[in-house]
Symmetry: C2
Subunit: 281 residues, 2 copies
């Protein structure tokens, strides 16, 4: 096993970005991709030093990052599982943790569930870019059975990539990520759906011309990759539905305040919003 050799499975936005940064940090990066087409593009973009479609390239890696979509992490290829060295530390980058842990706890003795909170609208082998993780949170959800040395290795990786390290339990993680990431995706999606359902063409045509930065910002996550949305909705359903329920009460409350012209109360809530947003960012 080579201490300096890191494997990345999947060279999309997260995997590709990790690959670029790790090469700058003088690691040997071995990247595994699923198709010949991606192989060529990933090589052109130099996302790793060695890039292949053969899982065997992972055999000497001391750390392997599974930068795969949630669906593939929940139902991993047997070829991939067999290719993971028992001595290697293995981590993932999925934004939902409980279902991942339920699968991977049995599959590998040195698995550490973790993921960086970083994303853009881009995806695929074209998306990876340098320094994506600087000053971003990187969350791990170790269990009692998690190997402490393996956890330390993933910690060191996150810190080397410039992230803030956070640990928590999987359930609290999935609830928190539902509130600050998955709920915003679906409230943003509902905003775009409202426009899809508007029938007045004159109004829509004008609205299209007038849409500006506020609209762009609030709809960015709701207009993203549908596969990611489905993956989140299907793998973090209960926390997400709980968050949507709370959200519905909030929008109904604002609607009532506007309807009843309760401007003092509305002002108070908008003021609270300013304060809580500052606490969050």
């Amino acid at each position: 096993m080579r201490l300096n050799r890191i494997g990345i499975v999947g060279l999309g936005l997260i995997g590709g970005s990790i690959g670029l940064d790790l090469q700058n940090l003088d690691y040997e990066v071995y990247g595994l991709v699923n198709h010949e087409k991606n192989l060529v593009k990933a090589r052109v973009r130099k996302l790793a030093q060695v890039i292949s479609t053969d899982p065997k390239i992972l055999c000497e890696c001391s750390l392997i990052i599974l930068a795969l979509p949630i669906s593939q992490l929940l139902d991993p290829h047997s070829n991939l599982i067999e290719a993971l060295p028992t001595k290697a530390v293995v981590t993932d980058v999925a934004s939902v943790k409980s279902p991942i842990i339920d699968v991977w706890r049995e599959l590998h003795p040195k698995f550490v569930a973790s993921h960086p909170m970083a994303g853009t609208i881009d995806k695929g082998v074209e998306a990876g870019r340098n320094e994506l993780f600087i000053n971003r949170p990187w969350v791990a959800t170790p269990e009692e059975t998690t190997d402490p040395e393996a956890l330390r290795t993933v910690h060191d990786l996150a810190v080397e990539l410039g992230s803030h390290w956070i640990t928590t339990d999987p359930k609290t993680h999935d609830q928190a990520v539902a509130l600050i990431s998955h709920l915003p995706l679906f409230t943003s999606a509902a905003l775009l759906q409202t426009l899809c359902k508007e029938k007045n063409e004159t109004l829509l045509s004008l609205a299209k011309k007038m849409a500006s930065t506020g609209f762009a910002d609030t709809t960015r996550v709701g207009g993203g990759n549908p596969d990611l949305g489905i993956s989140i909705a299907s793998n973090n359903s209960s926390a997400l539905l709980e968050a949507i329920k709370l959200y519905r009460l909030s929008i109904e409350n604002l609607e009532t305040l506007i309807h009843k012209k309760q401007w003092t109360k509305l002002h108070q809530e908008l003021k609270e919003n300013q304060l809580i947003r500052d606490e969050f960012l």
Copy 2:
């Protein structure tokens, strides 16, 4: 009257930004502010060549931009009204048009209702910046009685500042702006309210650490100036309430699809969202 002299009433984000750009375009800019404190700051920032708290400075201006909050536009100071030369063209920058027109149609013969679609979270005399209006829409809502020469003057101003010129009727304008600007503000506000109402402190504390770019983008407009929110809610109530009603149906529909695990239908709607967002931006 000096053809090259433009008056700006209020040197906040919009007024101050117009002042900076117009000076670069070699206009004489006369800025009116409400307090001595703002006068000093606006002079330091050179938001206009002449800055005063006395409305009389507007007497020779050929074009006057009322860059005031909606509440002040709806209930303007008599000193200000008296100081507006009858021959000058007067426009505003309010994001709601019908109530403004109802007031100003009687107050000035050369009033043109218009506004740029541009904003940041900043406000006050510190907020103005160069080139805020480049490639942004600038919408006017002329009526049959609007002076065509005055409309042309405001058109030329918008184009000189780098904006795209759009005209429409006030009602359609207010509905469109409700959909793409006022609704996003309140859906974003509801997101922050959901967090304000969360009681689990461990969860909130983790959520705060994990909040990333998606959260920042979706909550930007909802965490802005409460006065602006109240102004929008109270002056565009009916279009906004109509938009919120449509939005509630959209979020309830998404909730049902997730609850019933109708992933094919959900995927289809998220795909629609990608397409409509591209059409809007």
